[in-house]
Each structure stands twice: as structure tokens, then as C-alpha cells.
């Protein structure tokens, strides 16, 4: 099993979710995060004082999936999350050794 983490633009979440749903990804977990990268930050001004905000709002999607679905999933994410502008985000894939469904105690592929 693998964990696929994708950091994407927040306004792309809905589209990515639907694209993943379409390739029958049954579950995912989503998190609002702040990202720092090549994309330039935001300038905010309060009473004439300028602040450079380097951390930009991003959304992190986590999907646990069997090894053989990883490629399809990452490709789907790339297709649905890309705008082509700096800041589109990254995908990280890492190993997962065990998966358990709390409700049933099922493990492995049956659990996702």
C-alpha cells in the first residue's frame, strides 16, 4: 500500500475530488495547510504597514491506495489540479505498511 499526498491549490479541490471519484477512489482525507515555495507570497497592508505573507493557503489531499493504483491516481491528480502556473503543488508517494478499517477491523486492500 502507498500513501499519496498531493499539495494543491485550494480552488482545485472540488475538481480533483471529482476526478478521483470518477476513477473509483472511494476515500480520501483533506487538510488545509500553508505552503511556502517558489510561488511569490502575498502583500498585505494594514494602516500603511506592509507585510509579506510567505505562507499561502494550500490543500493537502491524502489517499491510501494499493500499489497498482498509484500511477493512475497521480496522473489523475496531475490532470485535474494543473493550471500550469507556479504554485500548482506537488505529489509525494510513500510506503504504508498496514491499513486497518476501525469499524470492521479489516486490513490491507479490503480496508481502503
Amino acid at each position: 500500500m502507498k500513501k499519496i499526498e498531493a499539495i494543491i491549490q485550494p480552488f482545485k479541490l472540488e475538481m480533483v475530488k471529482e476526478a478521483l471519484h470518477a476513477i473509483s477512489v472511494q476515500g480520501m482525507t483533506v487538510n488545509e495547510v500553508k505552503g511556502f515555495g517558489r510561488q511569490k507570497g502575498i502583500r498585505e497592508v494594514y494602516r500603511g504597514m506592509e507585510y509579506q505573507v510567505d505562507f499561502l493557503p494550500k490543500v493537502k489531499i491524502e489517499v491510501i491506495a494499493p500499489d497498482d493504483k498509484v500511477k493512475e491516481i497521480t496522473e489523475t491528480i496531475i490532470a485535474s489540479a494543473r493550471t500550469g502556473r507556479i504554485g500548482d503543488g506537488k505529489i509525494f508517494v510513500s510506503p504504508v505498511e498496514e491499513v486497518i478499517r476501525i469499524r470492521t477491523g479489516e486490513t490491507g486492500e479490503a480496508a481502503v
Binding site: F11, E14, I42, R43, E44, V45, Y46
Partner: protein, 406 residues
């Protein structure tokens, strides 16, 4: 001159002033959090812009000596001659300036109402130009028609106690035009546009309700029985509209909602506005029931009609104002207010006809001029922010601020 009436109208003006920040919160809570400041700003800034416009020219256009029934002359430009002496024509018992400042607050909130229609996408600079022109070319003349001495609708006998046509239909129609001309928000129909802070919206509704006592009762311009009539009618219509909206949605959708209660309150307040000083308490309740149910249905209809009036200015102010103006022609009674007229239900169908004329005139005028103004601005400076700015939110892109850093 009467100190009690002066105190009454001054405090009424203060209450009406509070409605604009109240509206800012009402609207601000309904947008997504990335647009909360952009929405609030348009309302708060309105106080500044129209306050000054009214002092410089607006008041004179609306209440200056009549020119052809259509507009006031420029005699009171820069408030010259608007001082401590009473203004016999409109209010014998209070200083002229008291009357002027009370009316100013109406001039401010009317264009503020429109801002709900274009929320989350209008350029701030274009907003500024539009509302200045709209106030001068639409609000001021229409106020003159209906309330100005010699105004053609007033002469015709149209009843509008506190602004059903001048304020609500006027703003509602401009909102409709704006929604059509400006177009739908990015993601409309695809993404969920969920209010980001409903407690803020309810707070706004509470302040609106409170301020509206100044709006309607204050329009009596004296602390008397008519003011009381208007106060009572205002409250009861609003109560009834809260119930009506919630019960209708309970029946239709299975649950009564908090946003429904707040929206019902505003619908009731809108609808009773033209009628407040002319109808009895039971008529007020009926008007409120009509307002709550009709506005709810109007809001549902929006989706069918396919324009994106972001915060339902058309459904609530347009339709509520329409219903109120017509209902005044139904329920008005000289037993309640001898200075008014009898409506259809009190044996005078003619009054209903007059109300229809007043409504139609306001609808057409507001529609046409608003349309022209928006089209011209669109062609010259553009109405909408860039697509990526809309996605990022107006707070950041138009004002370089963030609403919350919790």
C-alpha cells in the same frame, strides 16, 4: 419647533445610520470568507461617498424646489440655507437640517442594498463610479417624484410612507440589472457558495430590525400616534414574516433555518416600509405573511431564471418592495391615518391603481438608467475584477487585506 420631535428625528437618523453597518454585516456574513471585507467595505464606504454627495448636491436634487415634477432645483446645493429653522414644506416642527440629515441616511442605505447583487466580483473603482452616478441620476430624482413637494408621483397621490418604491424597488431593480449585466460569479452552479459566518448575518439582521424603527417610525417626523402606528406595524409585519418564511421552508424543505428567519425579517421590514404609517396592526401581520412567503418563493425562482444575484437583493428588496407598495394600495386606511388614503380593501380601488403606476414608473426608470450606466462603465473601465483575482478573493486583490487571521 418642537424639541420632542427634534429629538425623535435625530435619534431616528442615528438608528437609520446604524442600518448601513448592519447591512454590511448582514451581507458580509453571507459571502465566502475571502470576500468578507470587500463586501463590508462597499457598504461602509457608501456612508462616506453618499454622505458627501448628499450634502453637496443630492439633497437639493431630491428636496429642492420642484422642477417640472421631476427633480429638485439646485437651491440647496452645499446645504446652503439648510439650517436651524424649520422647513415648512416638509416638517414644521423640526430644524430643516434635522430633516436633511434624516433623509441623508435613506440616500446612503439605498445604493448599499444593491451591493448584494454584485458581491464577490465587482471592481472597487467601478463600484465607486456607478454608485455616485446612480445616486445622482436615479435615487435623487425618484425620491423627488415620490416625496418631493410637486413630485409627480406625490401629486398623483401615491402612498409611500418610508420608501417602498424609492428605496426598495429602486434598489431591487438596479440589483436585477446589475446581476444580468455583470454576469455570474466564477464557479457559479459548480462550487458551493456557502455563507461563511451566519452569526454575523443574524447580528446584521438584528441591527437592521432595530434601525428600521428609526426608518419607518421616524418617517412620521414627529413623535406622535402616526409614529407609533408605524412602529407597531413595522414590528408586527416583521414578526409575521419571520414566521411565514420559516414555516414555508419547513413545509418545502423539511427544516426551518436561521438564515430563513433572518431573511424573513428583512423581507417583512421591506414590505411594511411603504405601508407602515397607513395600516393597522392586523393588516401589518397580513403584509408580513405575504412578504415572508413571496420573497421565499422569489428567491427560489432566481435559480430558474438563471441570473446570479449573489445575496438575493431582487428576491428580498425587489419583490418585497413590490409587494409592500401594492399592499399599501390594498390595506391603507384613513381610519388609521387620515392624512393617508383608503386602499382597495377599504373601498378605494383607485388607490391600488395609483400604486401600480408608482411601481411601474420606478421599475422602468430604475431599470433603464441603471442599465445604461452599467453598460457605459463596462465599456470604459470594466466592471469585473480579473478572473484570478475573483478566485483569490476581493479582500486580497482589491484591498490587500485578509478578513481573519484566527
Amino acid at each position: 419647533m418642537n424639541a420632542a420631535d427634534t429629538a425623535f428625528v435625530l435619534f431616528s437618523a442615528a438608528l437609520v445610520m446604524l442600518m448601513t453597518p448592519g447591512l454590511a454585516l448582514f451581507y458580509g456574513g453571507l459571502v465566502r470568507s475571502k470576500n468578507v471585507l470587500g463586501t463590508i467595505m462597499q457598504n461602509f464606504f457608501m456612508l462616506g461617498v453618499i454622505g458627501v454627495q448628499w450634502a453637496l448636491i443630492g439633497y437639493s436634487l431630491a428636496f429642492g424646489p420642484d422642477i417640472g415634477g421631476f427633480v429638485g432645483s439646485l437651491s440647496y446645493i452645499g446645504l446652503s440655507g439648510v439650517g436651524a429653522e424649520p422647513f415648512e414644506t416638509y416638517s414644521k416642527t423640526i430644524p430643516h437640517a434635522t430633516f436633511m440629515i434624516f433623509q441623508m441616511m435613506f440616500a446612503i442605505i439605498t445604493p448599499a442594498l444593491i451591493t448584494g447583487a454584485w458581491a464577490e466580483r465587482l471592481k472597487f473603482s467601478s463600484f465607486l463610479v456607478f454608485i455616485l452616478l446612480w445616486a445622482t441620476l436615479v435615487y435623487d430624482p425618484v425620491a423627488h417624484w415620490v416625496w418631493g413637494d410637486g413630485g409627480w408621483l406625490k401629486s398623483l397621490g401615491a402612498l409611500d410612507f418610508a420608501g417602498g418604491t424609492v428605496v426598495h424597488i429602486n434598489a431591487g431593480i438596479a440589483a436585477l440589472v446589475a446581476a444580468i449585466v455583470i454576469g455570474k460569479r466564477e464557479g457559479y452552479g459548480r462550487e458551493a457558495f456557502i455563507p461563511h459566518n451566519l452569526p454575523m448575518t443574524v447580528l446584521g439582521a438584528g441591527l437592521l430590525w432595530f434601525g428600521w424603527f428609526g426608518f419607518n417610525a421616524g418617517s412620521a417626523l414627529a413623535a406622535d400616534g402616526i409614529a407609533t402606528t408605524a412602529f407597531v406595524a413595522t414590528h408586527l409585519a416583521t414578526c409575521a414574516a419571520v414566521l411565514a418564511w420559516c414555516f414555508v421552508e419547513w413545509a418545502f424543505r423539511g427544516k426551518p433555518t436561521t438564515l430563513g428567519a433572518a431573511s424573513g425579517a428583512v423581507a417583512g421590514l421591506v414590505a411594511i416600509t411603504p405601508a407602515a404609517g397607513f395600516v393597522g396592526p392586523m393588516s401589518a401581520i397580513l403584509i408580513g405573511i405575504g412578504a415572508g412567503s413571496l420573497c421565499y418563493l422569489a428567491v427560489l425562482l432566481k435559480v430558474k431564471l438563471g441570473y446570479d444575484d449573489s445575496l438575493d437583493v431582487v428576491g428580498v428588496h425587489g419583490v418585497g418592495g413590490l409587494w409592500g407598495a401594492l399592499a399599501t394600495g390594498l390595506f391603507a386606511s384613513t381610519a388609521v391615518n387620515p392624512a393617508g388614503a383608503d386602499g382597495l380593501f377599504f373601498g378605494n380601488p383607485a388607490q391600488f391603481g395609483i400604486q401600480v403606476v408608482a411601481v411601474a414608473a420606478t421599475v422602468i426608470y430604475s431599470f433603464v438608467i441603471s442599465y445604461i450606466l452599467l453598460k457605459v462603465i463596462d465599456a470604459t473601465m470594466g466592471l469585473r475584477v480579473a478572473k484570478e483575482d475573483e478566485v483569490a478573493g476581493l479582500d486580497l486583490t482589491e484591498h490587500q487585506e485578509a478578513g481573519y487571521s484566527l
